[in-house]
């Protein structure tokens, strides 16, 4: 892909590139060294600030915080997938009023920042007498926002299938639901699997918003530990640890998406889909969350 833009370098360019590479590496090392030294200089790497990791109580609390994050993720993912499937089907319906309602719901929840949704459910609902909890607000927010995005992904997947697929199925005398469930959906899900998993990465990252509605997840716990005077307020170490855990979790999901994509491309059952709408849905929402994201 990238060799499109430049020729295979000759001896002179190779030398020049090596010089550039050297300068680049030096700059990056200098930047990292500067940051590390500034951290060290202000005493962020003193043993006292890392000692909290050795307490078994802290370790089990940290594990619980990760579990809380995963719980919100799992609940949000399952409900969002269901929500997405229902509203994608709604938007593809032949009845105008079902299509209208589904379109309204999906566009509505995609336009509102996820954090505002969570605020609505956590701070807003109690004022009209509805009992809520942080977990409820986080999961409901994740479901509505990511479910709407997933609905668009499902819809784009089904629309990207060649028309002949459904035409052939109808010609065989299948009913609408049969065409959808035995012909279109299996192919669409196969084609969209990488995109769906990528959206789940967004959902996983968005669980960190729970921090702002007092849901005791990983980031919340990192902030809590970071403010403990007994450990010398180790906010930098605890942020680094939390970031590491988040990155590992998301990378695992990302790798799964990449693997699904490669497998798709190799598969003999793969059919050429016709438009890139799906990619656009993805590009826009990856940032979500909010991607962009909206989510976050």
């Amino acid at each position: 892909m990238s060799n499109v833009l430049f020729d295979v370098p000759g001896p002179k360019s190779r030398v020049r590139h090596r010089i550039y590479a050297g300068i680049g590496i030096l700059l990056v090392i200098a930047l990292i060294a500067f940051v590390v030294f500034s951290f060290a200089d202000s005493g962020q790497f003193t043993p006292q600030k890392w000692a909290w990791l050795e307490y078994s109580q802290v370790q089990s609390d940290l594990a619980n915080a990760v579990l809380a994050t995963l719980e919100a993720f799992a609940l949000g993912a399952v409900f969002a997938l269901i929500f997405g499937a229902v509203f994608a089907a709604g938007r593809l319906s032949e009845h105008t009023w079902i299509r209208g309602i589904s379109t309204f719901v999906v566009e509505f929840f995609r336009a509102i920042p996820l954090l505002i949704l969570m605020f609505l459910f956590y701070y807003g609902l109690p004022t009209v007498g509805v009992d809520t909890s942080p977990l409820f607000a986080v999961v409901l927010g994740l479901t509505l926002y990511n479910g709407s995005v997933l609905a668009e992904i499902f819809r784009a997947g089904i629309n990207s299938l060649p028309k002949g697929q459904s035409e052939a199925a109808y010609a065989l005398g299948m009913r609408k639901t049969q065409v959808m469930f035995t012909v279109l959906l299996p192919q669409a899900i196969r084609a969209m699997l990488p995109t769906i998993i990528s959206q789940l990465v967004v959902l996983l990252k968005d669980t960190a918003l729970g921090f702002l509605v007092t849901y005791p997840e990983l980031l919340y716990y990192a902030r809590y530990i970071g403010s403990q005077g007994a450990f010398g307020r180790p906010i930098v170490p605890s942020t680094i640890v939390a970031a590491g855990i988040y990155i590992v979790m998301c990378l695992l999901l990302t790798l799964l998406a990449t693997w699904a994509e490669k497998r798709n491309r190799r598969s003999k059952k793969h059919i050429e889909t016709t438009n890139n709408k799906a990619d656009q849905v993805m590009l826009g929402n990856a940032a979500g969350g909010g991607f962009v994201g909206g989510g976050v």
Binding site: S2, V4, L5, F6, P9, S13, H17, Y20, A21, G24, I25, V35, S38, S42, Q44, F108, A111, I112, P113, L115, I116, L117, F119, L120, Y123, G124, L125, T127, V201, K205, A208, L209, F211, L212, L219, R223, G226, I235, V236, T239, A242, A243, Y246, I247, C250, L251, Q280, L283, G284, N285, A286, A287, G289, G290, F291, V292, G293, G294, G295, V296
Partner: protein
């Protein structure tokens, strides 16, 4: 309606602050994201690796965590003092540029190979090929996803409200101190965002129509 009218002094400036935050971060992300994309297609393998590492790390980090770092941890470093608003701009730019980079890169891939080959045949350098031939053409095809990314940036800016920046995401807190209904206030904030997103979607659609290229 009362909640909105009684608190116009809150809604007005806070939404303006959101738009300001959005515009500054958008320009920053577009510039930085394009530079990252250029790194990722450059002839020097080390530059490509640096670009890839940045995008991989940032794309897998929650934005809230980026905010937490710049608001809570960064000030301990004593490098340059920054206020909450600047911290929010930096967080949003650091995060969004990774996504802009991917959009711009996918746009570079849509430009036919022959364009770059012709430019090379004319003896243009890598910088000239990218800056004068490939990027201008790719821009047209990436406008829709680019604006989608900016819409996400707009919505993400509400997180700043959770970190002491007086913008739309923070209206709730002030309203509750004044004793008005948070639910109603939040619904108005939601409506505000629906309008802002609709405006951006409109820009997206009209640019898409005007700039769509027949290839």
């Amino acid at each position: 309606m009362d909640v909105l009218l009684d608190n116009l002094d809150l809604f007005g400036p806070f939404f303006l602050r959101t738009i300001e935050l959005f515009l500054i971060s958008a320009v920053g992300s577009l510039v930085f994201g394009t530079i990252l994309a250029m790194l990722r297609v450059s002839p020097v393998p080390v530059f490509r690796a640096i670009g890839t590492a940045y995008v991989t790390i940032v794309r897998n980090t929650p934005l809230t965590l980026v905010f937490a770092f710049f608001v809570f941890a960064y000030p301990l470093l004593d490098i340059v003092r920054i206020d909450y608003f600047t911290a929010a701009v930096v967080s949003l730019t650091v995060y969004t540029s990774a996504f802009i980079c991917e959009v711009v890169r996918s746009g570079i891939n849509t430009v036919p190979v022959g364009q770059a080959e012709a430019a090379r045949a004319l003896g243009l350098t890598f910088g000239q090929i990218l800056g004068q031939v490939v990027l201008p053409q790719s821009l047209r095809s990436v406008v829709p996803p680019l604006i989608s990314t900016l819409i996400a940036l707009l919505k993400n800016s509400t997180i700043a409200g959770g970190f002491s920046v007086a913008e739309a995401g923070a209206i709730r807190q002030y309203i509750s101190e004044r004793g008005d209904s948070q639910l109603v206030a939040l619904l108005w904030v939601a409506l505000g965002f629906i309008i802002l997103v609709a405006v951006l979607s409109f820009v997206q659609r009209s640019l898409e129509k005007r700039w769509s290229v027949a290839r």
